[in-house]
């Protein structure tokens, strides 16, 4: 096994526990059994990246039974070397926050409340509005008679939170509609 810093720390950590407590003659079976239930034991390690500034610190997400159980900075990463800032350290609570949106919501014109809707209804409604606007407002020729194929009445804002692959999808989608009003955080 290649001895990375993380592996080394794990081995050293395990070693310390066995040596110190074991040598003192204390029966640690119960404590070990308890510790075994804690946090990352038996969890799958998944490499992810902190979603905030563009230092892009790598993070190890620990997943057990399909649930996120812990996050920590990746000690092998040559830039962050295991470190995370206050926001990065709060990733776990961000993910588990019960304040998060979980379903598509709809606010009707002049309404004072949100209504829960399913994805299919929501995307159909959006598609209809996009098509209606596009069919009505598409500018095929400008005043000079040049072909411009431009849709000015719909815009796209965002986002630098998207992955490169998501950005590629969004850009292609917008140009296929004829959208020119497209922008994101790079310009703020």
């Amino acid at each position: 096994m290649k001895c990375t810093r993380r592996n080394f720390l794990k081995l050293a950590g395990a070693g310390v526990l066995t040596l110190t407590l074991g040598q003192l003659g204390i029966n640690i079976d119960e404590a070990m059994a308890y510790a075994g239930k804690l946090k990352i034991e038996g969890a799958k390690e998944v490499v992810t990246i902190c979603p905030f500034c563009s230092v892009c610190c790598q993070v190890i997400a620990y997943v057990r039974d399909g649930k996120l159980v812990s996050t920590e900075g990746d000690p092998d990463h040559p830039v962050n070397e295991g470190a995370l800032c206050a926001k990065g350290a709060a990733l776990f609570t961000m993910y588990t926050s019960d304040h998060r949106l979980t379903k598509p919501l709809y606010r009707a014109p002049h309404s004072d409340k949100w209504e829960e809707k399913d994805w299919d209804w929501t995307l159909n409604q959006i598609a209809r509005r996009v098509k209606d606007a596009r069919d009505k407002d598409m500018i095929l020729k400008n005043e000079a008679g040049q072909t411009v194929n431009r849709l000015e009445s719909i815009f796209m804002m965002g986002t630098s939170h998207a992955s490169n692959e998501e950005c590629a999808v969004i850009h292609q989608a917008m140009r296929s509609l004829g959208v020119v009003h497209m922008d994101h955080q790079a310009r703020v």
């Binding site: 997400a61 994805w119 965002g158 969004i170 850009h171």
Partner: protein
């Protein structure tokens, strides 16, 4: 960044300006501290003493909006004291180019100014050319119109006296920074400049950065380890989202938005493909037609053929000079020219300037689609404080979006490292990633157009569009495929196989790539390179912490841009102890060089160092910008003074602004608004705070909106630490809690006292009682090149509040 995070440790001097790096990039800042451990001098020039200043050798307070005056003073210091690296300047910059006779500069205005249009005719700034069209050069630097002498003349006005009077920085402090940083003008020394939004968010934002480029080129600090101009990018993937162009004015890979005047692909290519008369200039953008054809092939697939211009005709075409950026979107919205739109992962109703205007403008939409983790000031604008939802017509679709740990893909860090992240868990509730929203939406539209017809259906129906989204499939699309069997060297690639590098992209339809810069990131030979986790390096690479086998970096895994300028014209490193590349007689070793060619001295096979400029030289004189070939000091759109000593032109003659009834500005030295406001963020909150305010532990750490002010100002206004304060500008009124501190000091500017206050902008009304958008105060005035708003300098007044309603 021209360089990358780890490389900062190689610097002998670190100048941090327009950035509070320790606060906003706390983990990246360790590499600044590593440089300090190695003996480097660390300097922070910023209006406020902050966590960054506390770690530096010295902090120099500067009035917000006067960076060019400060940097112009440094340029003058370099030229007067001959601190420049002469060999570098001669061989690698356009110092020797002779500028045409039409160039002129008088009392703050460059030649070619059209006052009615508030714009310059840039042709007045062109270089003198010979009969072949090659620039006329004078390597003796004696011609009065050579760039070097024009620059010297231009910055001769930037004396210590004028700079000090404008910036509020003492002469001693100016000299302290100038001396320490200019000591890196030696071949074996390197200085780096770190900046962030403190430089870009000004009406002279681009020229702030240009000024730093002049300094770095004069000192020979570009291309070397520990050097460069390093934008500490804020947003998580703002590097990648810029490369992939979620922007109106470009297509992915820095290809211009097609304009109406270019009706055919040939016309587009003619206008967008630079030509050089210098045979040893690589003129890399001469390859642009290959990249554009490959992009079109990626978008339209088999429907794109040479005969139909690869479907170029279907793309939307803009109008020349028309600004489609988001400040203009908002203004058009206010004037009922927008029907609907998408706001994904951004919160303009909190983070856009003059937010009261923005919030009013959003009410004019028929429909709005937001994708977010939480309700935001944007998604819930219709129920904001003080409005009756019944009067607001906008239909809103609010879509739950997936968190980073719930999706996979790549992002590009500030140093251009392309890093893969795996999906750890399924999205919470019914949340989706952004692509799983747009892929099915476009498919629904394609079905509707196929069934019903409508306007220009072929623009949608001819797309090479998948049934379902798969991140790795799109990583492959971005890299690009061969569309015909192709021989590269001894190897034959089949149709459908991955293109190994952008050097293999063609303009004949035989290749595709959704972004040429990323071509080579995912190959048949090595797979998905963004997943590489190999720490191995050669000793030469290890000496500067290059880590070429960890992830991958654009372009072609080159970790330090412009690295051909780190060696002399024979390929010998200027600093052998921290060599980036080296010519061993037949090939380059170290980093991936800026092109494979022999060193510049080789008259036959060699190429000039700066391969991305048309003529191969870095541009001390830059004739392509909207506001002049040399950076010049102008006051912000809302100046706290009536004049400055550099010219009679108070503000930039070409900055952009809006003038609706909601766009109001203070007068110069307005007695009603005498205090300069600058805005910023903090470690615990992320930008507009839409995500972090909803994390209890982070909100507890930074619970409410505050305003930092000097003890002197507080005394003048009768405000005590912890008091409620009303902050007002011509555009809005904001409540904040007073933080009276020695971190801010009054400035002496043109003989009078100017106070400056600072406020974070992370708070909004959807989080109860913590305060509301600071940007209700900031201005709708923008840089003429980028339309980035001037969020870092506007004018306000403050008073003690009798009672607070926004903060409880």
């Amino acid at each position: 960044m021209t360089n990358h995070w780890i490389d900062i440790k190689n610097a002998d001097a670190v100048l941090i300006m327009g950035s509070n790096a320790a606060e906003h990039h706390p983990v990246g800042f360790k590499w600044v501290m590593r440089a300090k451990d190695n003996g480097a001098v660390i300097m922070h020039v910023d209006p406020k003493f902050s966590r960054t200043s506390a770690r530096c050798d010295f902090h120099v307070p500067l009035r917000s909006g006067t960076d060019i005056a400060f940097l112009g003073g440094m340029i003058n210091y370099i030229l007067e004291n001959k601190c420049y690296f002469k060999e570098y300047v001669l061989n690698y910059t356009n110092a020797s180019f002779v500028v045409g006779k039409k160039y002129g500069f008088d009392n703050g205005l460059f030649s070619g100014y059209d006052a009615a249009a508030r714009s310059y005719n840039q042709s007045a700034w062109a270089f003198e050319t010979d009969e072949r069209g090659a620039p006329v050069r004078d390597f003796t630097l004696s011609h009065e119109r050579c760039v070097f002498n024009l620059m010297k003349k231009h910055y001769s006005r930037y004396t210590l006296e004028n700079v000090s009077a404008t910036t509020g920085v003492s002469r001693e402090n100016l000299l302290k920074v100038y001396k320490a940083f200019c000591a890196t003008g030696k071949p074996d020394k390197a200085g780096t400049i770190l900046y962030a939004l403190g430089w870009t968010q000004h009406t002279v934002g681009v020229q702030n950065i240009r000024a730093s480029a002049l300094i770095q080129l004069l000192l020979g600090n570009i291309g070397v380890a520990g050097g460069g101009i390093n934008a500490l990018r804020g947003e998580p993937n703002v590097q990648g989202s810029t490369d992939h162009a979620l922007l109106y004015h470009t297509l992915p890979g820095y290809i211009a938005l097609p304009l109406a005047q270019w009706q055919t692909l040939a016309e587009f290519n003619k206008a967008n493909t630079p030509v050089t008369a210098l045979k040893n200039s690589a003129n890399w953008w001469g390859n642009r037609p290959k990249y554009f054809a490959s992009l079109l092939k990626g978008w339209f697939g088999d429907a794109a053929t040479p005969e139909n211009d690869f479907c170029y005709g279907l793309l939307p075409k803009g109008e020349k000079g028309e600004d489609y950026s988001y400040m203009y979107v908002m203004d058009k919205m206010l004037h009922d020219k927008m029907k609907g739109g998408f706001v994904f992962g951004v919160n303009p109703m909190n983070s856009f300037p003059n937010t009261n205007k923005m919030r009013a403008a959003l009410d004019h939409l028929d429909w709005l689609v937001c994708a977010e983790l939480h309700h935001s000031e944007t998604s819930d604008n219709w129920r904001r404080p003080g409005v009756d939802p019944k009067t607001k017509k906008t239909e809103v679709f609010l879509l739950p979006s997936a968190h980073r740990v719930e999706k996979e893909g790549t992002i590009s860090n500030s140093g251009r490292w392309l890093q893969w992240f795996d999906k750890a868990v399924e999205p919470g509730g019914q949340a989706r990633n952004f692509a799983d929203i747009f892929v099915p939406l476009i498919n629904k539209l394609r079905e509707m157009y196929a069934a019903e017809g409508g306007a220009l259906p072929e623009a949608l129906l001819k797309q090479n569009w998948p049934a379902r989204y798969d991140a790795e499939e799109w990583a492959r699309r971005i890299n690009g495929f061969f569309w015909a069997d192709t021989k590269v060297g001894d190897k034959t690639y089949k149709r459908g196989q991955l293109v190994p590098a952008f050097g293999n992209l063609k303009d004949d339809g035989s290749t595709s790539s959704l972004n040429w810069l990323y071509c080579g990131s995912f190959t048949e030979e090595e797979g998905n390179k963004s997943k590489k986790r190999d720490l191995s390096q050669t000793p030469m690479q290890a000496a500067i912490g290059l880590y070429p086998n960890w992830s991958w970096c654009w372009p072609v895994n080159r970790r330090i841009l412009y690295n051909r300028a780190s060696v002399d014209i024979n390929g010998k490193p200027y600093n052998p102890a921290k060599a980036v590349i080296q010519w061993d007689g037949s090939k380059w070793v170290g980093d991936v060089p800026d092109g494979p060619w022999a060193p510049q001295a080789d008259q036959e096979k060699g190429k000039l160092a700066f391969i991305m400029t048309t003529n191969g030289y870095a541009q001390l004189y830059g004739p392509g910008l909207k506001d002049g070939p040399f950076p010049e000091h102008y006051e912000p759109a809302e100046p706290p003074v009536e004049r400055h000593p550099f010219s009679g032109q108070l503000r930039s003659p070409v900055y952009k602004f809006h003038s609706s009834e909601l766009d109001k500005f203070a007068r110069a030295a307005d007695p009603d608004y005498p205090i300069v406001l600058t805005t910023y963020s903090m470690t615990e909150h992320w930008c507009g705070g839409g995500e972090t305010r909803n994390v209890p532990n982070l909100l507890e750490a930074e619970p409410q909106l505050y305003i930092e002010m000097s003890r002197e100002l507080a005394r003048e206004k009768g405000i005590k630490n912890g008091d409620g304060v009303i902050v007002e500008s011509p555009r809005g009124r904001v409540e904040a809690i007073a933080m009276v501190t020695i971190r801010l000091r009054p400035f002496t500017v043109m003989g009078k006292t100017v106070h400056l206050v600072g406020m974070p902008f992370a708070y909004g009304w959807t989080t109860p009682n913590c305060g509301d958008s600071t940007n209700r105060l900031t201005v709708t005035a923008y840089d003429p090149n980028t339309t980035i708003p001037e969020a870092k300098a506007c004018c306000v007044n403050i008073r003690k509040a009798d009672k607070l309603t926004e903060i409880l």
